[in-house]
């Protein structure tokens, strides 16, 4: 019954813009990104389609890692886009998605949500959501981008395996009350719509301003696993492409384009 109510609310949301002009809802699917990538291959009019599922059987994160996706409690959705800008600028969508989720969570719940580079959603020092983007390019243009978002909304932490539980949280765990998932979903889409429109117009300043305001990585001693290496130093900020600038112990600087950041505890 609860799922039916969620489905009804998700599908009846008021969305005047492009993002969410068509909502494809599943009670359960392998992963919303997998479903969206299939749509990306099959259809040409993908820009703005959003795939939502109440649960995922193969929810996944970076490098094929598992994303716990039980039914009836969280948000799992994928925004499909076909932007006109160059693939080289697509990583900015990572930032736009993170900013949209963090500011929507803050506005909708009153919680203070932050971003750990590049796009982990952090509440109370723990991970409350993750974002994974998958892009297909060809002939130097973007065929489509799938922005997969998972937010732990009302999940009890006892569901999670022991190895990730200490680092994870849900919005309701911190809030102490149940959160309206469909309402939060609508809020994320409407904030994202504004950010996406700005990027299409070539306006990046508002995005960087907001990312910097919400980020919780800058100034911290960190280590980043990037490709085959580990880079350790102080996170100094981000460059014009969103890459993480790390000040190395030697005094030099390095920009990391991808990786997992661990904030090191103060000794």
């Amino acid at each position: 019954m609860k799922e039916d109510f969620f489905k009804k609310k998700i599908k009846s949301g008021i969305r005047r813009g492009k993002i969410g002009r068509e909502i494809i809802f599943f009670d359960s699917t392998s992963s919303t990104n997998i479903a969206a990538l299939k749509i990306g291959e099959e259809r040409a009019d993908t820009d703005g389609i959003v795939v939502v599922s109440d649960s995922q059987t193969k929810g996944r994160g970076r490098l094929g890692r598992r994303w716990e996706s039980p039914a009836g409690v969280n948000l799992y959705f994928t925004i499909l886009l076909k932007p006109s800008f160059s693939p080289a600028d697509a990583p900015l969508l990572t930032m736009a998605a993170a900013v949209s989720c963090a500011s929507a969570i803050s506005d909708f719940t009153g919680l203070k949500a932050g971003i750990k580079w590049p796009n982990d959603l952090i509440v109370n020092g723990k991970k409350a959501g993750g974002i994974l983007l998958e892009m297909k390019t060809g002939n130097e243009s973007i065929k489509y981008v799938a922005i997969g978002i998972g937010i732990n909304v009302n999940m009890g932490m006892d569901i999670l395996p022991d190895d990730i539980r200490p680092f994870s949280t849900s919005l309701s765990e911190k809030c102490g009350r149940e959160i309206d998932r469909a309402g939060l979903f609508d809020k994320v889409l409407s904030v994202f719509e504004g950010m996406y429109e700005s990027l299409l117009k070539g306006e990046r300043a508002p995005l960087f301003e907001q990312w910097n305001r919400l980020n919780v990585t800058t100034g911290k001693e960190i280590s980043v696993e990037t490709g085959n290496r580990v880079v350790t130093g102080i996170a100094e900020g981000i460059d014009e492409r969103g890459g993480l600038i790390v000040k190395l112990p030697s005094g030099g600087r390095e920009v990391v384009s991808a990786g997992d950041v661990t904030v090191l505890k103060k000794r």
Binding site: G64, N119, M135, T137, V145, N228, G242, G243, E254
Partner: protein
């Protein structure tokens, strides 16, 4: 020149406004360049070899191979190159693999954006240039493909 002498020079340079310094001593010439930062992580040491050490033969072969009608697949973004979808998965392709147009060759990741790069033609993978997990620059050649009609 002793290693600690080189270290001292590097330390001096770090705190100065000098961006490049060439030294020739006891028949050995080398150049130290200081960059504010590089865009992709790079394992290259700050110490550059003497220009005379760079041999013509070391200039990568791809340019020559591309001239023979081979196709270069380049990276559309700055990121990390992966030959497989996850550390446990088999590689998408290997040198010698036959590929179809539209087949995924690799992933380049930038900021949790996984960019699947497809082959633009039917052909044979002649060469895979970066290693798995290595940083790649915008426009860097990733694959050399021999097209088949």
């Amino acid at each position: 020149m002793e290693l600690n002498e080189i270290k001292e020079i590097i330390d001096m340079l770090r705190d100065s406004d000098i961006s490049e310094l060439s030294i020739e001593k006891e028949g050995v010439k080398f150049t130290i360049k200081k960059e504010r930062y590089s865009h992709a992580v790079s394992a290259q040491p700050v110490l550059q070899p003497a220009p005379s050490v760079v041999k013509e033969a070391e200039i990568p072969a791809p340019a020559a191979e591309a001239d023979q009608g081979f196709i270069k697949v380049t990276s559309p973004i700055v990121g990390i190159f992966y030959t497989a979808s996850s550390p446990e998965a088999p590689p998408f392709v290997q040198a010698g693999s036959r590929v179809e147009k539209g087949q995924v060759l690799c992933i380049v990741e930038a900021m949790k954006l996984m960019n699947e790069i497809e082959s633009d033609c039917n052909g044979i993978v002649k060469k895979i240039l970066p290693g798995n997990g290595q940083p790649v620059e915008y426009g860097e050649t990733l694959f050399i493909i021999e097209p088949l009609s």
